[in-house]
């Protein structure tokens, strides 16, 4: 098997300066440029990426994924080990890097193309394609400083993707532009894959990684933790992150807020048997039970729960007010249940949020964001694509029925 990328014992070390000395004075006084600690972002990493495959790299923030990608892109130089790449490399790390604001879109296509290593003749023939891909036909002759950020990124993507690389390195830039543009990007990636190009992707979008990658590598603190079939690696990764996390991670940073008149004590998944559980199956009858304590009398509270996928997508967020229920004043402890006759979530891991608000929905008594996690296993309906099942069933109608 041919390898497009061979990493042999690659290590990359960063210097973390305590007090960064950029000035000559301090360096003369200290006889060196500040004290620093060494941090190994990537350590003794060996990998072979087969030619023509789509290879994903996952890992938590700070695990060294992006550093590794930058080493492959030659932006960073490894401190030890070797990287061999066969063919032409193009990196989608930041779109439109190197655009010059005063120059027109057209000039920037040539400039950026040259930075990415495209000869002028090739750019001449590809210009129309690039402009069409970006959808900026009417704006190509105005300075890019007048572009919106969306236009800027689209043009950057259009140039970078048209470099026609043998090896394409992508760092979480798949989600740019509107839906139409996204569709075009996906199509372009599919074309590149079909034409036997090697693609290396770094991303947190586990669902996408599971679907589009042929192989996945999981990095943990700069070392290779696991490499193999995407489904297995994602499952192991999610399981470990889940286990290690204790309280589930909160990507937005503020896990809990509110004035505290009502406290959300817990939210749990209750099975048909009335017992709390952490795992259920698609199609099961369950309740999402929100336990609260009101330390003083609160009029007309509103309770709500939210279900999130691990990549942060908010799947649903029902509350009592929108359901048309006006609760009486509460005081003391109690619980409210969201009754689900059939849980239509697809197999996977989900986070629950729960909140108590006042009647205007403007004031939070207690909002706990993604603080409880549960698993959904394969059940009925046995679907696996998309976000949720719509719970439908199939009927087949034969059209040329011969009636005797």
């Amino acid at each position: 098997m041919n390898s497009a990328v061979v990493l042999d014992n690659v290590s990359k070390r960063y210097r973390l300066y305590h007090e960064r000395n950029d000035s000559l004075k301090s360096s003369f006084l200290n006889f060196r440029r500040g004290r620093y600690e060494e941090h190994w972002a990537v350590r003794d990493l060996s990998l072979e990426i087969p030619t023509g495959s789509t290879f994903g790299i996952i890992g938590e923030n700070g695990s060294g994924k992006s550093t590794l990608l930058k080493c492959m892109a030659r932006i960073l130089t490894p401190d030890a080990g070797t990287i061999q790449i066969t063919g032409k490399v193009s990196a989608l790390l930041e779109l439109g890097a190197g655009f010059s604001p005063e120059l027109t879109g057209r000039d920037n296509v040539y400039l950026n193309g040259a930075i990415l290593g495209l000869p002028r003749q090739v750019l001449d023939t590809k210009l129309d394609e690039i402009v069409a891909f970006s959808g900026l036909e009417n704006f190509i002759d105005i300075p890019v400083k007048n572009y919106s950020s969306g236009m800027f990124v689209r043009l950057g993507f259009a140039v970078a993707i048209n470099v026609d690389p043998d090896v394409l390195l992508v760092d979480e830039v798949l989600a740019v532009g509107d839906e139409e543009f996204q569709r075009r990007c996906e199509q372009k990636f599919a074309d590149l894959r079909a034409s036997g190009r090697t693609i290396v992707i770094v991303s947190h979008a586990m669902g996408t990684m599971r679907n589009i990658c042929d192989q996945l590598a999981w990095l943990n603190q700069g070392r290779l933790r696991e490499v193999g079939e995407p489904g297995n690696v994602v499952d192991d990764y999610v399981e470990e992150v889940h286990a290690a996390a204790g309280p589930p991670p909160d990507p937005e940073g503020g896990a809990r807020w509110g004035s505290g008149e009502i406290i959300v004590d817990a939210v749990e998944l209750v099975g048909a048997d009335g017992a709390p559980r952490e795992t259920t199956r698609t199609g099961d009858s369950v309740r999402l039970r929100l336990h609260y304590t009101a330390h003083k009398r609160v009029e007309r509270p509103v309770f709500g729960v939210g279900v999130h996928r691990l990549d942060g997508i908010h799947i649903t967020g029902p509350n009592t007010k929108q359901a048309g229920i006006e609760l009486d004043a509460i005081e003391g402890s109690g619980h409210v249940d969201l009754v689900l006759d059939r849980l239509l979530l697809l197999p996977g891991t989900y986070d629950l949020s729960a909140a108590a608000y006042d009647w205007t929905l403007q004031h939070a008594y207690d909002h706990r964001h993604r603080f409880q996690r549960f698993e959904v296993e394969r059940g009925q309906p046995a679907e696996e694509h998309g976000l949720v099942s719509l719970g439908g069933h199939w009927e087949q109608m034969t059209e040329n029925v011969s009636r005797l």
Partner: protein, 273 residues
């Protein structure tokens, strides 16, 4: 680091970066490119008034040309000096100015510095052309000397390139470099015979330090570069062999230091920026 074939393929990039420098310069100003001529002309006018009229510095008589004109004498030194000054100052800031793209895309980094010096050369050549016309008007037949001037331009540009390469990476690690440069360039300017003829230094009375002072003065490579430009433009004579030896020598040293420093510091450029 960078192989020759990569440098060759980055010619494309070089011309693009150069075009960016040139197109971006004076953009949105009404006079545009005229500014690149107006600037040295304004400096010339100011210096001529101050040093010729007020301080009464006499321009030397061109030998063998016989030309006596302070403004033209001044320009012959000022234009090459401007290439050096702009090349060093802009060169020193060039990598920092392009930090965004250096952190995100790989390409031979030296192209940025190279493009900077190359773009300055375009303006420099235009300025020299205007100077030549002015000299022809006052009767100095400079045309036969222009090929020699081109060789001088090439030498000076390589000398500047070497310095710019070294300064550009040093400035990434020590941002003081660009500020320090302001002082250094001022000192260097007055240590070079631009607004005064060398004869003034030679005839000055330094007592028993005379030999030492003159030796130190002549260690300044720009003394020889400016002298050579004046020989071709003002005096209409071939620069001396010793001047050529010094110019070729310092250019080689400057390029060697520049290339060495640049190579040593580029691997960690993206993380230090």
């Amino acid at each position: 680091m960078t192989t020759l074939s990569e440098l060759a393929s980055s010619r494309e990039l070089l011309s693009n970066l150069m075009a960016r420098e040139l197109k971006g310069k004076y953009k949105r100003s009404t006079l545009g490119w005229l500014w690149s001529l107006l600037n040295p002309l304004a400096t010339m006018a100011i210096f001529t008034v101050v040093f010729r009229l007020f301080l009464r510095i006499d321009p030397p008589v061109g030998s063998p040309s016989g030309l006596t004109n302070f403004a033209l004498f001044l320009l012959c030194g000022l234009l090459p000096w401007n290439l050096l000054a702009a090349g060093m100052v802009e060169g020193a800031g060039s990598l920092v100015a392009n930090a965004a793209v250096i952190k995100k895309v790989w390409f031979p980094r030296e192209t940025i510095v190279l493009a900077n010096v190359a773009a300055l050369n375009v303006t420099f050549l235009i300025e020299l052309a205007v100077l030549s016309v002015a000299l022809l008007v006052v009767g100095n037949m400079v045309l036969p000397w222009l090929p020699v001037v081109l060789v001088l331009v090439a030498l000076l540009s390589l000398f500047v390139l070497g310095l710019a390469l070294a300064l550009s990476v040093l400035n990434v690690y020590f941002r003081d470099v660009q500020y320090l440069l302001g002082i250094v360039m001022q000192l260097w300017f007055y240590a070079t015979p631009i607004i005064y003829p060398v004869s003034l230094v030679e005839s000055a009375d330094f007592g028993r330090w005379e030999r030492v002072v003159l030796t130190i003065y002549n260690l300044n490579p720009m003394v020889h570069f400016i002298g050579a430009f004046r020989d071709c433009f003002y005096n209409l004579r071939f620069p001396s062999a010793s001047a050529w030896a010094v110019m070729v020598g310092v250019t080689a040293v400057s390029l060697a230091i520049g290339a060495f420093t640049f190579r040593k510091f580029t691997p960690r450029l993206a993380e230090e920026l």
